[in-house]
Amino acid sequence: MLQELILYWNQFIHFMNAGGVIMWVLFFLNLALWYGLGFRYLTLKRGTKGNIRRLIQKHLDRGDKKVYVGILDYAVADALNAAEQAKQIGTTKPREFIYDALFPYSVMISQYSTLVKTIVVLAPLVGLLGTVVGMIETFDALQSSSMFSQGDSIAGGISKALFTTELGLVVAVPGLLLGKVLDKKEEKYILEFEQIADIISTKDKE
């Protein structure tokens, strides 16, 4: 088991060294990407079931004995509290208080979205950079055709060129797919926050 792990580790190191410095750049971009994706996945997890109308009704029914299972529960509870406060002081604009209460949640759901999008765009470009660097090395080696060192050889340049492009795509494609799924979820949350504000502020008017 341990030996297998060591073997895989050696293979990984060999693979990374075959592509040069740019492979490590891509590797750390990949780590950042998956950190962002994981963070977004955890914050965007729903937990609650059913639509917003039922959720608000449930919260109103339960009264003080509230059960929190997801981000929407907290958001609805905070929004109801804000609406209650607004009702007490008799303001003409309860909606502003609800927005005030929902703001931290809308910040939370959009966290790291820029990072994920940027890395998805960036990774193939970095891979392309590696390709170009590798090709330059290849043609330089062709030009001098010296056999002195192993680093700047023709085959080394070509493997650099191919490995970096490969890793660039390997980094970008899952990030693109998962990022799109999470963006869709975020959009849904934004619409639901809007709906919460609409429902609670109109409910008080009745």
Partner: protein, 437 residues
Amino acid sequence: MKFLPLLFLLLLNTLHADELLDAYKKEYAFLKAEKNELQKRLKSEQTSQQKELSKTKAKVNQLQNSLVSLSNNSDELNKQIEKSSQMLEDKKSNKEISSSVVLQAKSLLNEYNIAVDDSKDANVLAVMTKAFNDTAKLYNKLSSVEKTEGKFYLTDGTTTQGTIIKVGNVAAYGITNSVAGALAPAGNGEYKIWNENASEDAAAFNNNNKIRKNTKVFIYENLDKDVEYKKEKTLEETIEGGGTIGYIILALGVLGLLLIVVRVILLFNAGSNVKKITSIVVEKVETSDAQSALEAIKSFKGATARVIKATLRNINKERDHIEDIVTENILNESSNIDKFGSFVLVLAAVAPLLGLLGTVTGMIATFDIITEHGTGDPKLLSGGISEALVTTMLGLVVAIPLLLLGNLVSGWAQSIKDSMEHSALHIVNIFENKKAR
């Protein structure tokens, strides 16, 4: 009177009749004897002829048989002749091969001062055996590590005396008291020190140490041709390879980075103190009134401070009015916050395109070289191609950081705008809350 002669004749006849009969009888007997004689002769002739014929036939048969056997014989002989002529040809070509082998051996072994006898009367087999044995010995000698004393050039062009360690016939190391390193061919069978540090490997070979992993070595085919020192390509040279377009890309990159620095400073001024201002104002509004909060944040500068100040100044007015004021203030500040944002991203998008343009122009130049000089020299072409690729590399080198920083800074700017709006809203709400109490 007519029958008179006739009668005469008749009379005459009868007169001679007996005489005539006798004559005829005689004649007949003679002729008969003659006939018998002739018949006898014919018979004997026939038998003798038949005898002769059968004899001849037998002779012909015999002759025919002997002809067949003779022609068979000649066929065989022909085959044998063919065979022998082929053998002769084989022998000839074998001789040619062996003589060419001898010639080759002579020319190859001459380089190492080993004589090969190629005179015509020499025994080819013996000569070849000797040549093969010599070659095997030479091979053993050449594939071993051998130390000799000799002269070689230093990197500055001066010659020095030292130990030359030949590794087979493909590499060498040189060691003197002061210098040690790999040797490269300097032309005409001479060596020169290669300009890359391999002194430890040279020492290892000199002391017959175990050969290390990743031994540095200069492998050459022969010593006839001088090898040029490998030049380390400097960054400036690489950039120079990109030409005018490369410099344009670099200038755009520097401009983009400058703009990002300016933008970061602007954003830092605008948004770094949002939380601090908000907490101070919230505390002041809760404990005393808006006027004292305005006093408390008077020393703060920047976009957030201006927006909050405007909010506090108008906080006693109607809610709609306050909101309009806040929105207007944020719009006013956002021109500053969004400054250069899209321009940096445009630069990031343009840089790879310019790089591609440089590559295409470089390729066109390379193909111009091909049309002029042909494809004979790969060095000429590969140099042009690697230069063409430099612009693409520069384009990407410029685009990647600009894209990364530009996007992150834009996200930061958006969050600053959001938090400014939110803190203004929060303060108004708290004020209203307090007023109601």
